[in-house]
Symmetry: C3
Subunit: 353 residues, 3 copies
């Protein structure tokens, strides 16, 4: 029943946003309907990925989950890169990272904390995650400070950006090896939630693969339709593209993770919720962002890895408060409030830019 | 006997500084005598607050203690805001925060550490405190970086300052609910020092309330007398108002907390000492500073929440070293030395500005 | 046998680099041979220091070890200070700190981690070390931000630099008292590795002292020969003096520590390896750097303590990632990889300046 409703919503919004796009309907309507469609197809892609992962066995499955997890965002961003909207790409990457670390994590911790006085999870995993987030921040911070303070030439900027991108991807791949092969046991959650968001697959093997392909294609289409409307919508509401990229696109693109993490937290599986939120932001910083740098070299001018001071400040602030909240492996409602409050402050600040 | 001496000192210095003020005596004499009077009346206000808190019951009492704890500083600062000396206000807020985190905490840890090899306290409380301090730093840091890097208009600056002020106050009120109601037990110190600085009230209920009113009025007067002398004294000694605000005013305004915390540390109640030092700096960052922003809107131009780079650096540095020292719930003399050394470096740096 | 080979290498490279220097041979040859000679004599100086320390008794010995440990670097730097190459001095200090925290620590953790799944050591020591590194960063950060943001006059800059230098040296001396006298037992490694890299002395007492004197003189000579070639070599390869100072000189000057730490890590004595890497960088930041400031006042214009933004960023980044990796008293191969990756990123960035 629930699944039927989901598929109806998926198909209706997808078709509607396609018609709206090609028939040049009202831009605001295009934006709203394609945003809703993105939420549905991202959810569909997530389910298909999980189902395929299940059949692929634990290791390959974990890898699939880890790389397809932000597929929707990656595809949206590729269209933005192709359109040369480098600033909007960086804004949406920033928005995804802070959205995951502050909004998703904050809501999960708050909702879980309202139900349970204190929620506990494997502090070792939290420790590793925060070291990795630190790595991601360093990877984004060093190019920014060197390029700005030393007035790098465009060539030096390009060379450094590509180098850092490759290093971050290497770190990410080695992290997959570390967490899924050499030290898998050490990082497992004590209450076995690591497999908790897998459960039984809902489709057969061949259908899962078919759905994965279909979902990826659908994401590609709606992403382009959505990106197409951003300029009009932002100018109509007097919003900067920075704000639209960092908040609207990021919230839409991460809607699936949001709901999954919050539901897990309310079932007292806070470890799995933290894993989704932090893992997703790690993936964006260490994989999606550097891959976009490399992809941009195929289309023309290279997108450099130099984020603006306020983007770096937002990412740095989000990492520090999330690290401070999650470092002890225990969460409560107040910590959720703090994360959300930082998100609200950043939202106001970006809105006023 | 000791109490008699205290009251004699209180009345003599208060009356003397009043006469000095209205009779326009030597400005240097006015400054010294009103500074001593501030120490006495702040002490008196502290005792009256504690006594009233005792009768008010634990919850309301804790709340009273938490909000009246920095009443003297708040009142001094209101006079500075009224006089439009926004820079001196921010300097004195900065000075209060670093004075509590470095001087009060440093001296407590050092003096306690000279008597006891290692002092232990509830690390969970330390953990929460440091997350909250992080929140405070973020709340001050985001407006500074956005307003500066993006050249905000005065209206945007004003809007962001008021928004952040309201959010910080909400965080502070929710923290009171968290620490005094929903998670009171979790944060209690194992050696029950949390109630340790309450003891038996020295006055009857009605007398306590009377004294609280009298003390508040006295603080208001001496604060104005003291503020009045600052300009003359600082120009006479070639000191910047920044230095006077950040070091002289802050040390005078926090003298009561200083002595209380150090005495507790020497009785091996280091947990209570840390609570006073860190709690007081939290109160200034999350409550006093934002309240002053809101109050300033009543008098005329809004005081924005944008601190200068060196003030932010000083606060950031103080929070980081205090967090690093207190994060493990154990202290020793050397950690006290480090805190004090950072205070001395900052003192020299501010003196040279 | 092995010792014989070592002494042969020591004497041959020393004599050869002396001849090359005075006979004005090819500059590139001079550079290579004196660099190799520095590695040998630094190793010799290290052995002599350890041997003398052994006879001096635990306390004085520890002190000798702690102060002579970076003697080679100190002597190289003194020659650079005398030549007025303040920028190269700061670059080589920066390079030493990040070389120890990222390259030495990274290689040790990686090599140890490839052999052992997880290596454990006394987390209390790690905690203290990271607080001290924080102190060092603060000591370098405050002058930089105050002097830059407030446009300090050269006199104010000089005064602040000397003050901060003295305070850092005081912190270092008190740290020796803390770690070797008052809290020696608390910081000892559980598996007793702290005395592990002492072992039996290889020479008699009088011979050890003689060797210490001889080694110090030799270091002084080869250091001057090496420093003499830097300008020519860097201009020939199109490298900036910054890069040569921060990477080439630093790697050469720390070669002895590198090999010692890695060998210890592979024997599962990761605690001792961390102690060498972190201890050495602490010594440079809290002792060598400030001593050079004071020494510079003897030769003419004072070298100030203001590091450039990219140097501070490099040191800050290195301290944060090292702190994040070592704070839990456990290490694994992946943490080593992260440290090395940050080193590589910094290397590329400095190369491109």
């Amino acid at each position: 029943m629930r699944r039927k409703l989901f598929f109806t919503g998926l198909i209706v919004t997808f078709v509607l946003s396609g018609i709206a796009h090609y028939a040049h309907w009202n831009e605001m309507f295009q934006f709203v309907v394609s945003a809703i469609a993105v939420i549905f197809v991202a959810g569909f892609l997530g389910q298909a990925t999980e189902s395929v992962s299940h059949y692929a066995g634990q290791r390959l499955g974990g890898f699939l989950n880890a790389t397809f997890g932000n597929a929707a965002e990656l595809i949206i961003a590729i269209f933005l890169v192709k359109a040369g909207s480098f600033e909007t790409v960086k804004a949406s990457l920033t928005g995804s990272i802070i959205g995951n670390l502050l909004l998703v994590l904050g809501l999960s911790v708050l909702m879980g904390g309202l139900k349970f006085k204190e929620q506990v999870y494997n502090a070792k995993l939290a420790d590793h995650n925060s070291t990795l987030m630190m790595m991601a921040v360093i990877g984004l911070f060093i190019p920014a400070i060197f390029v700005t303070a030393e007035h790098f030439s465009p060539e030096a900027d390009r060379f450094l950006s590509i180098t850092v991108a490759i290093i971050l991807i290497v770190c990410y791949l080695l992290w997959l090896i570390f967490s899924m092969i050499t030290h898998k046991d050490m990082l497992a959650d004590s209450d076995d939630t690591s497999s908790g968001h897998g459960e039984e697959p809902i489709w057969s093997k061949s259908r899962s693969i078919l759905y994965l392909v279909v979902a990826t294609v659908m994401v590609a289409f709606v992403s382009e339709w959505l990106v197409h409307t951003l300029h009009g919508v932002s100018s109509r509401f007097g919003l900067s593209e920075l704000f639209v990229g960092a908040f609207v696109v990021a919230i839409v693109g991460n809607a699936a993770e949001h709901s999954a993490a919050i539901l897990l937290a309310m079932k007292n599986k806070i470890g799995a919720a933290v894993e989704i939120a932090v893992g997703s932001s790690l993936q964006i910083a260490l994989f999606v962002a550097p891959v976009l740098i490399l992809i941009s070299t195929l289309f023309g001018p290279t997108m450099d890895i130099v984020f603006s001071p306020i983007e770096l400040a937002a990412i740095g602030v989000a990492v520090f408060i999330a690290k401070s909240v999650s470092s002890d492996g225990r969460t409560n409602w107040y910590e959720g409030v703090l994360l959300l409050m930082v998100y609200v402050i950043l939202g106001f600040a970006f809105y006023l830019v």
